[in-house]
Symmetry: C2
Amino acid sequence: MSKNSSLSHRVTNDLRRDIVAGILPPGAWLKTEELAARYAVSANPVREALWRLQGEGFVVANPNQGARVRMVDDDFVRNIFELREAIEPIFVRRFCQRATPEDLDRLRAAAADFATVAREQPTDFDALDAANRDFHSIMLEGEINVQAIEVMQRYAGLINATRAKLPIMPSRVRQRVAQHTEMVEAIVAADADAAARVAVDHIRAAGEDMLSQMRQVRLTGSRVARNQPARKDDLPAG
Amino acid sequence: MSKNSSLSHRVTNDLRRDIVAGILPPGAWLKTEELAARYAVSANPVREALWRLQGEGFVVANPNQGARVRMVDDDFVRNIFELREAIEPIFVRRFCQRATPEDLDRLRAAAADFATVAREQPTDFDALDAANRDFHSIMLEGEINVQAIEVMQRYAGLINATRAKLPIMPSRVRQRVAQHTEMVEAIVAADADAAARVAVDHIRAAGEDMLSQMRQVRLTGSRVARNQPARKDDLPAG
DNA sequence: GAGCGATATATTCTATAGATTCCTGATGGC
DNA sequence: GCCATCAGGAATCTATAGAATATATCGCTC
């Protein structure tokens, strides 16, 4: 697809992957020289990758001081989900207006797929996430507000990467299935208000669920096994 | 204030100023070498400035091909104002909750200031804009959703720069004064719903006004004298 | 002779290495 | 105990070399 085969792109992807995998944990300093050695490039592509990842929200940088992996704390999660609650209705409403019968069929099919995954692999985050993404991306296909899409997707990677490391509650998965169904029904009925309302509820529930799982992990210190930090020793320094 | 006195920051500011002033018009190619010569630095700070301005929305860049000043067309304006309509209510509602009597006094004073400017200098965009900014920034003072603020301010500079070159309708200025008053009243009454509604109307009116002025300028070819491109000859190439 | 495709050239972005500037923390003087 | 100065380290900048892309020219086919 996008064969952005420049060094800085490769470094961007590698760095993102390592952050997502937890090899570079939240708060870790991202020293240019260190990363340059790690990825076998010079300082410039690393700098550029850091810029890009700053744009994606993975990294926060201070002038003349260096960059670090962003801390995903409660405030941040709350802020992002609040933003999503504000923006998603735009997409849902417009999709209500423009959806063709074929679009509706595909949306229904995607909702069914998600329900299947939820039934058969209810604890597999990646599978659930992929199915969920398929469902929601249908609504973005003909969306004209590219700036709004950009905002919505900006922190999606980071939020998702963080969510992937948290436990999954079966009850919440069932709730998501129900909400998808509800949304499809509202859209089929061309009831934009109802669809937007469901979308907001959907996002709010997801946000509250994530916050509660984060609290849970903080309290119990538990951590889901999969996607664990692997080997921290890969890095020269701590 | 922010004494970001690195070369790339200086270039960022200079480049932004030149784009805002119209010396580098929308659509103009921003060649690294050319800009490096223009601002008497090497390619790297220019690259970095372009990254930053891409983040601010002034510039769009393609890999291995170059960057250009963003075109501000109708779609873009519509998208940005739609985003604002979605996000601004977040701020207004929360301000309603936390506003102290002192905050309300200052908001009232700012609204009065804007009204004064509107009466005495109704065609001075900069004065109106400054007063308007003062008014709205009061509501952002204690705002906790920094990501939402960032989104709101992202394209503000570019939109403002474009708006500054368009004509100002006295009737629209009067409408803005009235809307400010209305908003203050709703906030004083702690009626968050009403305040949010007024805010949305306010933004929608501003967006429609801007679009209609853009249409007007396109049709008549007229252009406001002040802030005109100055001298394009400053640039090596056309 | 006109249109199309391939090669060659020119332009521009991209990457490297070394020099420079800036920030941070530590040491010594007041 | 507090402030100024200095050393170490890291980010930033310059200059130059290396890729990638777009453009123009030439030759071929129809």
